[in-house]
C-alpha cells in the first residue's frame, strides 16, 4: 500500500489530509455553487460582495427553465436519444465484441485496427459530410439521424470495452454448450451475456454519458426547437445577450443530474469497466 507517502509521521498525515481537503473543495464546490445559485433570485445572485447562501431559497429558476423555457422537451429529447443510442451501441458492440473474442476471423487484426482507429477520429472531421448525407436522405433534424450519429461516438468504445469483458469469460463454457448443440447466437444470448452483465451495464452507462454530453453533433444535425437537447439548450442560453444566472445554473443542473444519478447508482460497474481494459495483463 505505501508508495510515495509511506512515512507515518503526523506531519505527512496532515499534509495528505490537507491535500485531500483541497481537492475535495475543488471537486465539489462548482456543484455546490451551481445548486446555491439556482436557488437564488437574480438580484441575490448578482450582489457584491457575494451572498453565499440564498436568504429565501426559491425554485423559481427551475420552474422557468422546465416550463417556460421548454427544458422539459429538451430533457425528453436527450433522454430518448441517449437511451436508444446506449442500448443500440451496447447490443451491436456486444455482438462484435463476441465475434472478435471467440472467432478466428481472417482479417481480424485489420478489422480490429479499423474499430480502434474510428475511435481516434475527431468528430469535426465527419460532421460536415455527415450533415450533407443526412440532408440528402431526409434524416436531417430527426432523432433517428441523431441516434445514428451518436453511434459513431459510442460504438467503437462499446465494441472495445465488451470485447475485453468477453475475453475474461472462459471459453470452455462456450465449448460445453456447443457440444450440447447450442447455436452460436444461443451461447451469446444465454451464456456469455448473463456472465458479462456488469460489463454490459458499464458499457451502456458509458455510452449514455457520451451521448448525453454531446454538443457538436446536436448543434450541426438539428435546427428545429422540438429536436433541441439539454446540452444544446444550455450552450445556446449562455450565448444569449442577457444571461440570467440562476436560471442558467438551474438549466445546467437539469443537464447534469441524470448523469450524476446514473453514475452514483452504477459507479461500481462503471469504474470496473473503465479500468478492466487498462489493468488487464
Amino acid at each position: 500500500m505505501p508508495g510515495l507517502f509511506s512515512s507515518r509521521s503526523p506531519l505527512a498525515a496532515a499534509a495528505i489530509y490537507t491535500f485531500l481537503l483541497a481537492v475535495g473543495v475543488y471537486v465539489i464546490f462548482p456543484f455546490l455553487w451551481m445548486l446555491l445559485t439556482s436557488l437564488k433570485t437574480e438580484t441575490e445572485a448578482l450582489q457584491i460582495p457575494v451572498v453565499w447562501l440564498p436568504v429565501r431559497p426559491t425554485l423559481k429558476a427551475y420552474a422557468v427553465m422546465w416550463i417556460r423555457k421548454n427544458y422539459a422537451v429538451y430533457f425528453l429529447n436527450s433522454t430518448v436519444v441517449s437511451l436508444i443510442t446506449a442500448l443500440l451501441s451496447s447490443l451491436l458492440g456486444a455482438l462484435a465484441g463476441y465475434g472478435f473474442s471467440r472467432f478466428a476471423l481472417r482479417g481480424r487484426g485489420v478489422l480490429m485496427g479499423f474499430v480502434l482507429t474510428t475511435q481516434m477520429l475527431p468528430g469535426v472531421l465527419v460532421v460536415g459530410p455527415y450533415f450533407k448525407i443526412l440532408s440528402a436522405v431526409g434524416l436531417y433534424d430527426t432523432r433517428t439521424g441523431l441516434i445514428i450519429a451518436f453511434l459513431t461516438i459510442c460504438l467503437p468504445f462499446a465494441t472495445w470495452m465488451l470485447k475485453g469483458f468477453i475475453d475474461g469469460i472462459p471459453r470452455e463454457l462456450d465449448d460445453a454448450a456447443r457440444v450440447d448443440g447450442c447455436s452460436w447466437l444461443g451461447i451469446f444470448a444465454r451464456i456469455v451475456m448473463p456472465l458479462v452483465l456488469p460489463g454490459l451495464v458499464a458499457t451502456i452507462l458509458f455510452a449514455f454519458l457520451l451521448a448525453w454530453g454531446d454538443l457538436l453533433w446536436v448543434s450541426t444535425l438539428t435546427h428545429s426547437e422540438s429536436m433541441v437537447t439539454v446540452t444544446l439548450a444550455i450552450a445556446r442560453t449562455v450565448q444569449e445577450f442577457y444571461v440570467n444566472w440562476p436560471e442558467l445554473m438551474a438549466g445546467a443542473l437539469i443537464g447534469g443530474v441524470p448523469s450524476i444519478l446514473l453514475y452514483l447508482l452504477m459507479q461500481r460497474w462503471l469504474v470496473q469497466g473503465l479500468t478492466a481494459g487498462a489493468i488487464k495483463q
Binding site: 471467440r102 475511435q119 481516434m120 447534469g256
Partner: protein
C-alpha cells in the same frame, strides 16, 4: 481412407467454415455501420480537402497550402497545444497525487473516491458553464474570494482577458478531466503486489526510491492508456470551450475543433475546413500510435 473418416473430415471442415461465417455475422453489423457513418464521411472529407479552386474534379494541395500560410491556423495549433499539454499534464499530476493518497487506508476513502469522478461524469458543456459563472469578472465568486483574501487588488477579467482567457478554459478543463486519470491510475496502483514494497522496504529503499523503482514501472501500462486516451479526448474537446468562451475573446481560445466547426458552419469554407480537420486527424493518429501498438502487441 474409409468413407466414414472422410465424411467426418468433411463435416469438420464444414463446421469450421460455418464457424467462420458465424464470426463474420457477429462483427458485421458494427463494422458496416462504422463504415457507413464514419469511414465514408471521413473519406468525403479527405476528398474535399484536396479540392482545387475553380475545378470541381481536380485534385491538388491548394487547401493545404492555404492552411499552412494562414497565421490564424498556426495560432490555433499553438493554442490547442497549450490547452492539451497543460490539461493533460495537470490531469496526470493531480490524478497521480490523488491516486497515491487514496491508495492508503484513510478515513472516508470510499465516499471520496466515488465523489471525485463526478466532474468527469457531467457533460463538458455543464463544466464550461459553471466555471464561466465562477470566473465571472463582476459577480464571480472566485474574484470575491481573491479580493477578500487580498490576493488581488482589483477583480481579474478571467475569460474576458487576453492573458487569462486560455488559462481560465484550462482551469475548467483540469477540473473536468483529472478524475478519469485518477481512477485509472488508482486501479493500476491496486494491481501492484504489496510484497514488492515490503521487499523494497527491507532492502532499505525510501519512499521516493520505491516510487521510482516499483510504482512507476508497475504503472507503465495504465499510464500509456490514461495518457493516450486523455490526450485524444482533450485534442477533440469541443463543448467545454464552445460553451465557455465560443473561442473568444477574439480568437484567443480557439482550438482546432472549434475552429474547424466555425470554418465549416459559419464561414462555409467546406474545403478549407476539411483540410484543417485532416491535419487534426493526422495529429490524433500520430498521438495514438504508442497506444495502438501496445494493444496490438497484446492481442
Amino acid at each position: 481412407m474409409s468413407v466414414g473418416v472422410l465424411r467426418l473430415r468433411l463435416s469438420a471442415r464444414r463446421g469450421r467454415v460455418r464457424e467462420r461465417i458465424a464470426g463474420y455475422l457477429f462483427v458485421a453489423p458494427a463494422i458496416l455501420l462504422l463504415g457507413a457513418v464514419l469511414a465514408y464521411p471521413a473519406f468525403v472529407s479527405l476528398r474535399l480537402s484536396f479540392t482545387v479552386a475553380g475545378s470541381p474534379t481536380g485534385l491538388g494541395l491548394d487547401q493545404y497550402r492555404l492552411l499552412l500560410r494562414s497565421s490564424l491556423f498556426w495560432q490555433v495549433v499553438r493554442q490547442t497545444g497549450t490547452f492539451v499539454a497543460i490539461s493533460v499534464g495537470a490531469h496526470l499530476i493531480l490524478g497521480m497525487l490523488l491516486a497515491l493518497a487514496l491508495n492508503r487506508p484513510l478515513m472516508g476513502r470510499t465516499p471520496l473516491r466515488i465523489m471525485v469522478l463526478l466532474p468527469w461524469v457531467v457533460p463538458d458543456v455543464v463544466a464550461g458553464i459553471v466555471w464561466k459563472w465562477i470566473l465571472n469578472p463582476l459577480y464571480g465568486v472566485l474574484n470575491d474570494v481573491l479580493l477578500e483574501l487580498h490576493l488581488v487588488q482589483s477583480p481579474l477579467e478571467w475569460i474576458a482577458s487576453p492573458k487569462l482567457a486560455l488559462f481560465s478554459v484550462i482551469l475548467a478543463n483540469v477540473w473536468r478531466g483529472f478524475p478519469f486519470v485518477m481512477v485509472i491510475l488508482l486501479a493500476g496502483l491496486q494491481a501492484i503486489p504489496e510484497e514488492l514494497y515490503e521487499a523494497a522496504a527491507i532492502d532499505g529503499a525510501g519512499p521516493l526510491a520505491s516510487f521510482r523503482h516499483i510504482t512507476l514501472p508497475g504503472l507503465r501500462k495504465v499510464l500509456v492508456v490514461a495518457l493516450a486516451l486523455d490526450t485524444i479526448w482533450e485534442v477533440r474537446r469541443f463543448g467545454l470551450i464552445q460553451a465557455m468562451t465560443g473561442g473568444g475573446p477574439g480568437t484567443l481560445t480557439e482550438v482546432l475543433s472549434t475552429q474547424v466547426f466555425k470554418q465549416y458552419f459559419q464561414f462555409f469554407r467546406f474545403e478549407y475546413a476539411s483540410a484543417m480537420a485532416m491535419a487534426m486527424t493526422a495529429l490524433l493518429l500520430l498521438i495514438s500510435i504508442p497506444y495502438v501498438r501496445m494493444i496490438v502487441r497484446e492481442e
